[in-house]
Homo-oligomer: 540 residues x 2
């Protein structure tokens, strides 16, 4: 289908969907969750278990292009975004993608959507790798009809807007790996990818590790660059060909636009990432490190992944100490990289950092200069519809959650009041690791984290091995091997129900059920493209 | 179409083709050459001018796979090639691809085809990125029916076998870029790619720059790894995950096979590459360097490409001297890399080496350690069906040829006796450069190189700017700018016809016409997949 016909088809699908929203057929998936069988006019498959669904068909192929239609000089610069979007044939109903490596400092996604708005187009689908609070003005574009709906992780205000039922289409939340899968498999066909690039050359080669707006890896934009029909590079730091490294390859790029600034450096990366100071959370971090040591996972050549949250950073510091004491060296650690992982690399406590995104200035400096600090992409790390991926090779993974239930199902997208406030990130993908650990406080603001049933299942209990909170450590009964290995440990290993009861007592009874309607506002995709759960409208 | 149905369909096409070879319809292309309209049962398009053909359709998509079908440990090793081929579903008529980075030292391509032969399959299409004399035993496999025909550059004995009309299918010669184009566009669908890897990990990440059989870049195998249905890595140097750099990504790999040796290191790369000692050839090299200087091409930030032949290497030494004298620095030079280019990088005479293949030990050492010695692939460098490529960004290109005619058409595949003895390499792709120079002796073994009409057009005269031989320099009349810039040069600029006449006189008249039949044995594809010329059978 040509891009014009495709956009028209999508529009008619979306219109039909709006009319028939109330008629949407539902099914109950393998986890007992009621999920729609059609999302934004496109049929979807209910979740069939963590490894239960086998895909068919072939990978998406974008149109074949010819060098005859590109400048022989290699200079693809055009004066501004309007020109670039016009040359890409911007039309109503198109899918516009952006990446989120500039995080809350990004200025390019909004610039592109607002430019499109001024050009008079309607009903765009915005397909970011994640949306941030700085992009709150997209709400105005949705109200005006410029943007029809968002498919992508919705953090903060945009999530709330969706939760309240204001978005015309349904939100579709995917993990980083699920986003690659959806693009690769042709579930989402990107018409125009807008790629903010901290460094680029006129041919379109682009990289994130240098320049005034340096952000580290650009891996989240890689699928967009390969599979989109049109690709626009937006940069504030043009260098002569070749821009190397070229994580984004100019051979996939149509136009290059220079702007004064692609983002606010202070909001792109933290100056320094902060370790938690809360005694409870430090205790959780210490428990996690001791668990990994005592379970025998911490041994020469092992690997682990931890995020950039306060607990995760503290965990790294505890583990580092234990590794030093035991004389143990990791083969690789997986970022989001921070100063704390870089220190490990510099100290020789790991051979490699395999880095998906870079969180602080030390991380950016390191990925731009250290040969063993390697930029990865969701293809290498997370895509479930490849011939394997790195996630299942990681020995231990430390993750957060908003809720976890007594069946070990985890939630990272909604709060207990039902509001959709967070994206999935790589969370679902990481659950493929050898030992997956949720490191969570037992309660937040007097709301328990361990519940009977999570509000929204983001990851199935069959893949979550351990829950660590300040009141104890619960091992999933499926992991008999871990239970056995920790039998004689002095760690507070306890049944999850026991911890739940203790917390309930402390907080004075069961938490109130949130007021949630039966109107779906978003779906949560599993890593294989199936629907694992539905997010329901929350009345104001 | 599934891989089994595809193989069956191809077999029936090939059988039909054998029966009807005499009925093959022909057309005369834009250069006046008679070319078949069907090759090995597949319709082809006659050449329409260097930039005359616009492709349609979408890029090839191989089958979607799922991580559920690959080991969670990431360990894809199987005991031997037989097991791997069996697991890939090896069948009659399949397309088996290999790469030629191990050059005349390669042991893997033959090992794979002979293993397939022992497994009893027939009528394979062998699709190497190039074939070398060490693979002469494939002739036996063709005689036995294991291999039906070869699509790929045919050097030496295999070319001769094809020229004599012994191959059951037609040879199809493509440039490095044309091979990427054919795979990407789905013209050639690879069933099983066999990738010899000097280093690999059990997940299938692979690289060429380290290990006992190190060969430098593995770029020629990249398209195979991305687009083939099945990919087998064969290595003699396994390292723990992650093998980094990972020019071949394990996420595209099905199986890993360890063998004792993938090749003969002495034949993989030269200890040292040799500069010509012939006074005539040294003069040609000096003329080329002076031409580039006097044409004003040699200026700060310029770029050039030269191969690893004796003249090209000598040219680099002359140019280097001139750059030093003039205080000029290149932005990048393109390899095949050798000690001579590495010296430039080390000396600061160029910012980058962008390297497609690595010819000597110094080159291998450098690409494995110097951050600005960059491994490229035919995708970045040469693929004409991308959004541009690097080849057109190179300011000056120095190439060889077996023949060039007075219309500046060039031949690199056949000799004047009609025998197909050489591959195309990147030669056609390089013709997109800013100034393309054929550096050739005026005659070889009393056979003139400048002829009325080349035996086989490999590159059209519209893209060949300068012919340099020891008797003078001919500028293509289309390049009025070059003629103007060299007007006051003391270089021997002469009309090409004048040089031709002089040589003819010296050799005592016109050369004999070769005895060539009207049976086609191979076609030469242009960079866009159209057929630029036919190779005809030469009677014994």
């Amino acid at each position: 289908m040509g891009k014009q016909r495709r956009a028209e088809h999508r529009l008619s699908m979306m219109n039909r969907m709006e009319k028939e929203a109330s008629d949407t057929p539902f099914a109950v998936n393998k986890l007992g969750r009621r999920v729609p069988l059609e999302v934004n006019g496109i049929p979807v498959v209910p979740f069939k278990g963590a490894r239960g669904y086998r895909p068919s068909g072939v990978k998406h192929g974008p149109s074949i292009r010819s060098s005859r239609d590109y400048p022989r000089s290699g200079d693809k610069r055009v004066p501004d975004l309007t020109t670039a979007l016009k040359k890409c044939g911007l039309k109503d109903g198109m899918v516009i993608s952006t990446h989120h490596h500039l995080r809350n400092g990004d200025q390019v996604a909004l610039m592109a959507l607002q430019t499109a708005g001024r050009m008079g187009v309607k009903d765009l689908v915005w397909f970011p790798s994640a949306a941030f609070p700085c992009q709150e003005p997209v709400i105005n574009l949705m109200k005006k009809g410029v943007v029809h709906h968002i498919e992508g992780s919705l953090n903060g205000p945009l999530g709330k807007y969706c939760s309240r039922g204001h978005m015309r289409g349904m939100g579709v939340l995917r993990s980083h790996g699920g986003r690659w899968q959806a693009i690769q498999d042709g579930e989402v066909k990107i018409d125009i990818a807008i790629i903010a690039a901290p460094t680029a050359d006129p041919f379109g080669n682009a990289d994130g590790s240098h320049g005034p707006s340096a952000c580290g890896s650009l891996g989240f934009a890689l699928a967009d660059s390969i599979y989109a029909e049109y690709v626009i590079i937006v940069t504030d730091h043009l260098v002569p060909f070749p821009c190397y490294p070229w994580q984004i390859q100019g051979n996939n790029v149509d136009y290059v636009v220079e702007v004064e600034s692609i983002g606010d450096p202070e909001k792109i990366v933290s100056g320094t990432t902060q370790i938690t100071k809360s005694p409870d959370r430090l205790l959780i971090a210490e428990y996690v490190a001791r668990f990994i040591r005592d379970a025998g996972i911490m041994k020469d050549g092992f690997s682990f992944q931890a995020g950039a949250g306060g607990i995760a950073l503290a965990f790294v510091e505890y583990l580092k100490e234990m590794m030093r004491d035991a004389g143990v060296k990791a083969r690789f650690v997986r970022g989001g990289s921070t100063k704390y992982l870089v220190d490990m690399l510099e100290e020789g406590l790991t051979d490699y950092i395999l880095d998906g995104q870079t969180f602080d200035l030390v991380g950016v400096e390191s990925i731009g200069s250290h040969p063993n600090h390697v930029a990865t992409s969701p293809f290498t790390s997370y895509n479930f519809h490849g011939k394997g991926n790195f996630a299942s090779l990681v020995d231990a993974v430390v993750l957060g959650a908003t809720e976890v239930d007594i069946n070990f199902n985890g939630n990272v997208v909604t709060h207990s009041d039902g509001l959709l406030l967070h994206g999935i990130g790589g969370w679902q993908n990481c659950l493929a690791g050898g030992c997956t650990i949720l490191a969570v406080p037992a309660f937040r603001d007097r709301i328990p984290v361990i519940v009977d049933e999570v509000t929204t299942i983001t990851g199935p209990g069959e893949l979550i091995d351990v829950v660590v909170c300040e009141r104890g450590i619960a091992i999933n009964p499926r992991r008999k091997d871990l239970l056995r290995r920790l039998r004689n440990s002095d760690l507070p290993i306890r049944p999850i129900e026991e911890i739940q009861k203790e917390v309930r007592k402390l907080l004075g009874g069961k938490p109130e059920k949130p007021r949630i309607s039966d109107t779906p506002v978003a779906v949560i995709k599993w890593v294989d493209g199936t629907v694992i759960d539905t997010v329901w409208q929350v009345p104001e």
